[in-house]
């Protein structure tokens, strides 16, 4: 027995009403002095027991009436056979459709077309009085569930008009949302039909905790739902895909070529020969290569290109193959911002007049080497050196990166400015030295983890002095640079396979730091050979901060005399300046924003969308900025924002990319389905006959609300009859 409206079970309290009325009436008696007592005494002597019995019976009947009505409102149902439908039991169903873009796979008929047919046939099995909620895997669990429909034709219309989205499906989340929604429905039988291509990736079966939760959800349901998984699509689909397109440099300039690493993958069971990969820039094909991809193999391709002019560029890679069931994932786009200058502010805390004696002398040379004869030394980095006193007058918004080199301490106002600068997307490199006041740094810049510094600087030994670490206590003793702990663009050049060796450098002194907090925004990128952190990164807002625990001049190390010093420092600065705000390479569903200032903000901005008409973007003021936003980036492809009347080279390129994990069309293994059958009591149906069998057409249970209402009416008649008979 289950109660479909169990929230109304409290209505049973009404059963006590006759008793309460009786007790209340007992206290509301009228006192009357009476002479003819002998007759009443005779009556009571003979009838007292009878009257009491009758009163009790009437009270019980009235309580029965109220109990029947209250129970009828809770809609109790007797479930005879939980595995099948019964002709007189209504069903609350959730039709969950996998609308991830892998459902577009298929040759003669896509998985989505098969799923739609199954769904429509399933809807045909529902009857008047049943309700169905049509949910889609990409949206399930992200917001409130759609309304349940009693109009089955409307449900069919929704299914007919639906199409796969360019998103992935988190199966556990979608099933969880569907089950929770089903729990709120009211019919005594509950069905959840999930129509999917069984793509293994979305199920994430390795995450046992989530599936334990789901199993608990089904077990704790008031009415255990019938979970049926209808699989559609090919058992072993073939698919070729481009799964990655990344530039070798985070900041691209017109002076040096940039390499784009492209990854092609064959997810199918057969080898694919003559797979052509074409590399294009701004729509113009630059290079095509042909590769052979074995079953399950991936191939990395590198395309190098040097951009001639600064501005926004679109890089595209396209794969062509005769044998591919899912063509949607054969193209990858990347928006590249080419810059012609990168202003960097170097704050020198130990500025001197002698050559190479100031703290930033080596750094400035490394960032902006001057050799007009050799164009390979050209760089976009433009360094400006100021001392601490001038820092407060500097306009930080003009710079992309700020470097604090052996700055003793910062005034509070400057700290605030720097925080705003980083949060807005700027980069900050902190390279301390012997002048650093540890207490001031920890108080103003670390602020117990809330400030700019990723970790607190530690002191050891004398509390008033910076801790100078020496390997064995001797002045010339040193420690060498160690390994890269976390991959980062800034250190990409120093990965072992790149051949750059930095272990020859010696560091005589460095700061020890507190252990980094376990937070995803703070990462140790590299260490010394003794394990102490060398470079620590903190992400703050849209920007980031690097803490180099040694000085950037020769006072504490011999880093500046090594060849890697120049690329190391340049890469650190370029990495700090890599944030493109707002981002231009987006995922499906991510908002597209363009910020304009000055005269540009007054012009209308048009958005060119893939396979859709151009759209004038609405403008929104945010202080001195004008922001143009577009949220409906549901279709992957190239988007272009152009001020009205702009030249082609003034257009801003955006890309929207679908989730590439959907390209792996491998299905759940038989063992996985067996496990799900066991844990979730799910029925897997590969075709319509097995799906119809899983639904079942006989057995079931009975809702007894009608019987209870009939009982209440019957008791009313009985009460009336008894009262008239006994009156």
């Amino acid at each position: 027995m289950v109660f479909l409206n169990w929230l109304l079970i409290g209505g049973l309290v009404a059963v006590s009403a006759p008793v309460l009325i009786h007790l209340f009436q007992r206290n509301r008696v009228i006192t009357h002095e009476w002479g003819a007592m002998m007759f009443l005494e005779e009556l009571l002597a003979e009838r007292a027991r009878q009257i009491k019995l009758r009163d009790l019976l009437i009270m019980l009947i009235r309580m029965g009436i109220l109990a029947s009505l209250a129970l009828a409102l809770t809609r109790p149902a007797l479930l005879m056979n939980s595995g099948a439908r019964a002709p007189d039991v209504h069903t609350s169903a959730v039709l969950l459709l996998d609308d991830s873009y892998s459902m577009n796979a298929g040759r003669a008929k896509t998985a989505w077309q098969e799923a739609r047919e199954q769904a429509l046939r399933y809807l045909d099995t529902l009857r008047k009085g049943d309700d169905v909620t049509v949910m889609f895997g990409s949206a399930a669990g992200k917001g409130p569930p759609p309304a349940a429909l009693f109009d089955l034709e409307r449900a069919k219309e929704i299914v007919r008009n639906a199409a796969p989205r360019h998103e992935r499906t988190d199966v556990a989340r979608a099933l969880s949302a569907a089950l929770q929604h089903l729990e709120t429905r009211h019919n005594p039988r509950r069905e959840l039909l999930y129509v999917t291509d069984l793509q293994a990736h979305g199920w994430e079966l390795e995450d046992g905790a989530r599936w334990s939760f789901l199993a608990g959800l089904t077990r704790s349901s008031r009415i255990r739902p019938h979970l049926i998984v209808a699989s559609v699509g090919q058992e072993h689909p073939s698919n070729l895909a481009l799964t990655g397109l990344t530039p070798s440099r985070s900041v691209v300039d017109p002076y040096a070529p940039v390499t784009f690493n492209v990854t092609a993958a064959n997810g199918g069971p057969e080898e694919a020969a003559d797979v052509a990969v074409t590399f294009s820039v701004n729509g113009a094909p630059k290079e095509t290569r042909t590769v052979r991809l074995g079953p399950g193999a991936t191939e990395s391709l590198a395309f190098t290109h040097k951009f001639e002019r600064p501005g926004s560029h679109l890089v595209a890679c396209k794969l062509r193959s005769a044998d591919d069931e899912l063509p949607d994932d054969n193209e990858l786009l990347h928006s590249v911002v080419v810059i012609d200058r990168l202003p960097v502010l170097l704050v020198d805390g130990d500025r001197r007049t002698q050559p190479l004696a100031s703290e930033t002398d080596f750094l400035r040379l490394a960032l902006s080497p001057k050799d007009d004869e050799d164009p390979t030394w050209r760089t976009v980095i433009e360094s400006t050196v100021v001392d601490l006193a001038d820092l407060r007058y500097a306009e930080l918004s003009k710079y992309r990166v700020v470097v604090l080199a052996n700055v003793a301490a910062l005034p509070g106002a400057v700290v605030g400015e720097l925080e705003r600068f980083v949060v807005a997307g700027g980069g900050l490199l902190v390279a301390p030295g012997d002048r650093v006041q540890i207490e001031a740094y920890n108080r103003d810049l670390h602020r117990n983890g809330a400030g700019l510094l990723p970790v607190a600087l530690q002191r050891r030994g004398e509390p008033a002095a910076p801790q100078l670490v020496r390997a064995s206590g001797a002045r010339r003793d040193f420690v060498r640079l160690g390994g890269i702990v976390t991959n980062a663009p800034a250190l990409d050049l120093f990965r072992p396979e790149k051949g750059q060796d930095w272990t020859a450098a010696r560091v005589f002194e460095h700061f020890q730091t507190a252990a980094p907090a376990a937070h995803e925004d703070i990462r140790v990128l590299a260490t010394y050979e003794n394990g102490d952190p060398l470079l620590i990164q903190k992400t703050l807002g849209e920007g980031k901060v690097f803490l180099l625990t040694t000085a950037v001049d020769t006072a504490w190390s011999d880093l500046p005399v090594h060849p890697f010093y120049v690329p190391l420092m340049q890469n650190l600065v370029l990495d700090l300046a890599s944030a493109v705000i707002p981002p231009r390479n987006l995922r499906v569903g991510q908002s597209l924003s363009f910020v304009a200032t000055g005269e540009d903000a007054k012009a209308a901005h048009v958005l060119y969308r893939p396979q859709e008409d151009p759209l004038e973007l609405p403008a929104r003021r945010q202080g001195a900025l004008t922001v143009f936003t577009y949220d409906a980036t549901e279709r992957p492809g190239a988007y272009v924002v152009a001020p009205e009347g702009a030249r082609p080279d003034e257009r801003i390129q955006y890309t929207v990319t679908a989730e590439r994990s959907e390209s792996d069309l491998a299905r759940l293994a038989p063992g996985d389905t067996q496990r799900l059958t066991r844990d979730l009591d799910a029925h897997f149906a590969a075709d319509w006959p097995s799906l119809a069998a899983a639904i079942g057409l006989d057995g079931g249970g009975y809702e007894i609300s009608t019987w209870l209402l009939a009982l209440a009416v019957g008791l009313c008649f009985l009460e009336t009859w008894l009262l008239r008979r006994w009156a």
Binding site: R26, I30, H32, W34, G35, A36, M37, L44, W726
Partner: protein, 297 residues
């Protein structure tokens, strides 16, 4: 004669006095001299001789007969008598019941006063008996006008209280009243009918004529209560019954009617009059109707 207003409804008395209470019996009558008494007493007209028996007064010995027959005879005279009535007023607690207007006791007291006034006005002797569980007052029957004051005074002083024990009272009265006469009982007769029937038979056996005037409040007849009531006994303090009145009304009315039927049947067997006097009816009208009926028989 001035009557205490709390006892006598003057208007009623005046209206009642125009009527004549005509005794049904052959030996007594309302009007002085209208009927010959069957009682042989000691009045002026000789009736017969009776052999002397011990205790007879010597002055009544007929010495002439003694001289002729040498036997002692006393002379008996035919007596001219008026009605000797005893009005028995129930002063038990149940008579205090006052449903909608005055109490039954007040109503009965007014009726008793009216009857006494009427009968003394026609030179009939009137006695008064008040009782509850025993006889509280017994004023022998007399017909003097001064006696009426005594009756009224006792009526005014009597208060209704205690339990009813009617049957033993009637048995007692049947023994006490030696001369045949009229016994008017004003009561609600709330007592076991079996005992009452016996007591009435006793009165009849002693050749008394009785008029049973049952004074009732209309509520006692109709039982019109429609809610939950706690009935508190007027005769036995502390006795109370809590019940849903509508549920027992019908049974009560049946019981009450049966009780009245048994009482009426007992009176019929003894050839007594049984009169129901509802308190919502003016007592003069009720008495007038009854006396008119009686006069017409």
């Amino acid at each position: 004669m001035a009557l205490p207003p709390e006892v006598v409804d003057q208007q009623a008395l005046e209206r009642v006095s125009k009527l004549r209470l005509v005794a049904r019996t052959v030996v007594e009558s309302f009007v002085s001299g209208q009927h010959r008494s069957v009682y042989k007493g000691f009045s002026v007209e000789f009736a017969q001789h009776r052999e002397y028996s011990r205790g007879d007064e010597i002055r009544h010995i007929d010495w002439k007969v003694f001289g002729k027959s040498d036997r002692l005879f006393v002379k008996q005279y035919e007596e001219e008598t008026n009605l000797r009535a005893h009005i028995c007023l129930d002063a038990s607690g149940s008579m205090r019941y006052a449903g909608s207007g005055g109490s039954k006791f007040d109503y009965a007291r007014k009726c008793a006063a009216a009857l006494a006034y009427l009968m003394i006005g026609q030179s009939d002797g009137v006695g008064l008996v008040t009782f509850d569980d025993r006889i509280r007052t017994h004023i022998p029957a007399r017909s003097t006008s001064g006696h009426l004051n005594t009756v009224f005074k006792h009526l005014a002083d009597t208060k209704a209280d205690r339990e009813t024990n009617l049957a033993p009272i009637l048995h007692d009265l049947a023994g006490r009243i030696r001369r045949r006469g009229l016994v008017v009982v004003l009561s609600d007769f709330f007592a076991p009918t079996e005992d009452l029937v016996q007591a009435l038979a006793h009165l009849h056996h002693r050749r008394h004529e009785a008029i049973l005037m049952q004074v009732l409040d209309p509520r006692e007849i109709e039982f019109p209560f429609d809610e939950m009531y706690e009935f508190r006994c007027l005769e036995r303090p502390g006795v109370r019954l809590r019940l849903d009145a509508p549920r027992v009304a019908k049974l009560y009315r049946e019981r009450f009617a049966a009780f009245q039927d048994r009482l009426r049947e007992a009176c019929h067997r003894c050839r007594f009059d049984y009169v129901v006097l509802p308190t919502d009816r003016p007592c003069d009208a009720a008495l007038a109707q009854y006396l008119t009926y009686r006069q017409g028989r």
